[in-house]
């Protein structure tokens, strides 16, 4: 598309958790424009008080996710052309998280769940020990690698209907993280972690409808990771370890 000066009709949800409404702005369309460009244009030219988050603008930091026309997206790498519907955009804060203001969500519960799922590496050795030798071709390492590139954007968390119905559910991102550690041979909290993720509101609550996988901007597959945890937890249970 050339530098057409057509106007986008952009509705942005403004306000707080308790009280919010849609404000509509006309934004000049540009080539290769991203949703984050649109939000930034509105803040710079129309609504200086508009609150939103971003940092890297290149899909690394995971801070810019929002609902765009009802679907969770990383806005810095989502082109307007891809998601525009009848010349309109509706931009809202991420689903399933409390809103602080405008497009900014409170991520506390999202990250608390990473802790609850024991998403922290538990070393078995110290810095004085030799490096652990782990082959890149090791099957467990390959499974961890397939799930490791998570940017904590909470797009999957916003897409998950199980989180929507049960806010206590750990959710795809935290469980995906736990799966990478469950496949890490250097980690020393294997059974503790399996116990943590298979408590109520844990991996067994997942219904495998794959919305997380459909939307993850890094093309990770939390559904497969959670299925893996279900298998490991079931096996540990049969062995009497859980």
């Amino acid at each position: 598309m050339s530098q057409s000066k057509e106007l986008l009709q952009v509705s942005v949800r403004r306000g707080t958790e308790d009280e919010s409404g849609l404000s509509t702005y006309e934004v000049p369309q540009q080539e290769s424009q991203t949703i984050l460009d649109v939000v930034t244009w509105i803040q710079r030219h129309r609504e200086p008080s508009l609150s939103y988050r971003f940092a890297c603008r290149v899909g690394m930091c995971g801070s810019c996710a929002m609902m765009v026309n009802g679907e969770p997206r990383w806005t810095c790498r989502t082109h307007v052309q891809k998601v525009l519907r009848d010349g309109r955009l509706r931009i809202e804060p991420l689903r399933n998280l409390p809103v602080i203001r405008d497009l900014v969500c409170d991520m506390t519960e999202f990250f608390d769940k990473w802790t609850r799922a024991k998403g922290v590496f538990e070393p078995t050795e110290t810095r004085d020990d030799e490096f652990a030798a782990i082959k890149p071709s090791d099957p467990k390492r390959m499974q961890a690698n397939a799930a490791i590139e998570c940017i904590n954007c909470a797009v999957c968390y916003a897409a998950c209907d199980t989180v929507n119905l049960n806010r206590a559910y750990l959710g795809p991102a935290a469980l995906n993280r736990a799966w990478t550690l469950a496949n890490d041979d250097r980690d020393g909290a294997y059974y503790d972690r399996l116990a943590a993720v298979s408590e109520s509101d844990g991996c067994m609550n997942c219904h495998s409808h794959q919305s997380c996988m459909t939307y993850c901007p890094n093309e990770l597959n939390p559904t497969a990771s959670i299925a893996g945890l279900k298998r490991l937890a079931s096996l540990a249970y049969l062995k009497g370890k859980l």
Partner: protein, 113 residues
Amino acid sequence: MSLAHRKDSLWIVQFVHRISGLLLVLFLPVHFYVLGLALNDAAELDQFLKWTDSPAVKFAEAGLVGLLGVHLFGGLRILALEFLPWSPRQKTYAATALALSFVASVAFLLRAF
């Protein structure tokens, strides 16, 4: 709240699975009641079987067989997804489960008439 993410076929497959499971919960008590008649009340069972001769009831029964098929094959798909190594062909499997239950339902109709 927006429902945009619910147009994905994998989401719909999961929804169909849940609805079919709930409908089975409604249907199974009736099914067992009729089976119970076979043991206890031959006359009433005969009357019931006569009722099931009507084409409308046969079509309804084929629907139930289809329902069970959808839940059975769909349920096996979920179990395979969760307990076997991941396969990227989930949509194909879902379509296969649907096709198998359709075949089962048609096969039932052919035998019923």
